[in-house]
């Protein structure tokens, strides 16, 4: 299973490296979303106060596009069918695609945090760094797992562009809440103490493990025609 | 009894929507069953 996962992940990342769709389109979109928030919310102090929430909102919106892209690559020439026909272990395909998606999400989160520091004057304090990295990793793991699972569910369906956000948004809500609160604790926005962040990391980790396991089991039957 | 409007509204909405779904289901069942004879329905 892990061999197939490594293969699929390497393949996905190479496609991204070759086509640069994410780096040329999704990342600019995410940064643009940060800027649009600034236009909309306008008040400096408000922006700084809600910066973590905005970062994770931008990540969530970008996730919709990243998942669409990940499965458009598979369905454009029937590769997903070919993977099924070749009897390739679906759990491996799931983990591979999730790992690739996680890598893209993680780089996006880093970039958006930098964006938040520049645009919203958020300060990243040194002692909060460990919490920040752990929270970001478990959040992106959760988002990648649930995104790949629901991406597989809607892969071939008509109207999946609108169906995927409808399905994903409610499920991703806990990650949005937990990640935002954990990041607030890490950055110390509005005086949140460092210790307050760790229970949220617990929520993020549970979410990631839960959907990692469910995805590995359910992905095969889900993409079955 | 103040707030009668809100209370009445909630009951009307509740029972009304249940009745609406009931009526829609019955009509749909009737339309779909038009081509079948009574015995063919597994629940008869």
């Amino acid at each position: 299973m892990w061999r197939v996962a490594r293969l699929v992940a390497a393949k996905d990342l190479r496609i991204e490296w070759r086509s640069r769709v994410v780096t040329n389109q999704v990342v600019p979109f995410a940064v643009l979303v940060l800027v649009m928030f600034a236009f909309a919310l306008d008040v400096e102090s408000v922006l700084q106060r809600v910066a973590p929430g905005l970062v994770w909102l931008a990540v969530m919106f970008s996730q919709f596009f990243l998942v669409q892209r990940a499965f458009a690559v598979e369905t454009s020439d029937g590769a997903l069918d070919a993977l099924r026909v070749a009897g390739v272990d679906p759990a491996g395909v799931f983990l591979g695609k999730a790992l690739a998606l996680m890598a893209q999400l993680a780089s996006l989160v880093i970039l958006l945090l930098v964006g938040a520091v520049l645009l919203y004057r958020a300060e990243i304090r040194a002692d909060g760094l460990v919490l920040l990295v752990t929270a970001a990793c478990s959040a992106t793991a959760g988002l990648a797992a649930v995104g790949t699972l629901y991406g597989g569910l809607t892969a071939g369906a008509k109207g999946r562009e609108t169906l995927l956000p409808l399905l994903l948004a409610p499920v991703v809500a806990p990650v949005l809440i937990a990640a935002a609160r954990a990041t607030e604790a890490a950055l110390g926005t509005a005086g949140t103490a460092l210790g307050d962040g760790w229970p949220w990391v617990g929520v993020l980790a549970t979410f990631a493990v839960a959907f990692g396991v469910v995805g590995t089991v359910a992905f095969g039957p889900l993409i079955e025609e | 009894m103040e707030d009668l409007g809100f209370i009445a509204a909630s009951y009307v909405l509740t029972l009304g929507s249940i009745a609406a779904l009931a009526r829609w289901t019955l009509r749909r069942g009737r339309r779909l069953a038009r081509t079948l004879r009574r015995e063919e329905l597994p629940w008869t």
Partner: protein, 259 residues
């Protein structure tokens, strides 16, 4: 398979009586439902005393709390029948239809819970919506199962639809504790003094508690009646699609006859 010609029926067609999907059981159930609804209205609006704290707004409780209970019951039934469908030994499309019917009725009741919750909130808190853990989880469930119903609408064969919805049905229920826990944890950060723990934790006793339980009973009857009928309509739907199969099979064989 458009139903064009109306086949000649010697005896009355299935719809001779009032409903196609009705049986004696569902007719008695229907009678019980409407009687119960009548009694609930009487008890809820007239007989039961106004609450000492809330006044008359407690009457909305008799619709709000039971509908929430029934919605949760409906989603549990959906999850159980989804699991039953996925379990190879008990796999049959009936489970899938029960899951679908129960989810539809569940979404209806969850919608009722949300609306009555907002109306009740408007009177007691002066605001339609409050990010209270219970209400938030309710909203989450409503949207999740709306998505479930959307997925049921996707194309593909009955088995495909059944398998996809079964996995989603189970997934939705697995998500409830995750969502509920994170919302509770989230709300605990905001210690705003809510004088009254919102919706449902109002201490009802005596006749008011009795009315509440009547509400639950009546709504359960409605739920059973609706799911029974809805599930049969889904059977008719599938049968309608499949019956096209036999005709198409014979048509194909006829087609083969003429090269």
């Amino acid at each position: 398979m458009a139903v064009t010609t109306q086949p000649v029926q010697t005896e009355r067609p299935a719809t001779g009586r009032v409903t196609a999907t009705g049986t004696r059981v569902t007719r008695w159930l229907a009678v019980a439902c409407w009687l119960g609804a009548g009694w609930l209205l009487l008890a809820g609006l007239v007989l039961s005393p106004p609450d000492v704290v809330q006044g008359d707004s407690v009457r909305i409780m008799y619709a709000h709390v039971p509908s929430a209970w029934i919605a949760y019951l409906a989603f549990v039934v959906t999850a159980v029948s989804s699991a039953a469908y996925l379990w190879p030994r008990t796999r049959s499309l009936t489970w899938d239809r029960i899951a679908g019917a129960s989810a539809e009725v569940g979404v209806l009741f969850m919608g009722i819970t949300l609306v009555t919750g907002m109306l009740w909130g408007r009177i007691t808190w002066g605001v339609f919506w409050q990010w209270d853990p219970r209400l938030t989880t309710t909203a989450f469930l409503f949207v999740t199962f709306a998505g479930y119903l959307a997925v049921r609408g996707l194309g593909g064969s009955h088995e495909q639809r059944a398998r996809r919805s079964a996995i989603l049905g189970l997934l939705a229920v697995v998500e409830i504790p995750l969502v509920h826990f994170s919302v509770v944890l989230w709300r605990s950060l905001h210690q705003e003094a809510s004088v009254l723990n919102p919706n449902g934790d109002v201490q009802l006793d005596g006749f008011m508690l009795f009315t509440l339980f009547t509400g639950v009973l009546v709504f359960t009857l409605f739920y059973l009646w609706l799911v029974l009928h809805r599930q049969r309509v889904l059977w008719l739907q599938d049968h309608h699609d499949d019956s096209g199969l036999d005709e198409a099979l014979s048509a194909r064989r006829a087609e083969e006859g003429t090269p």
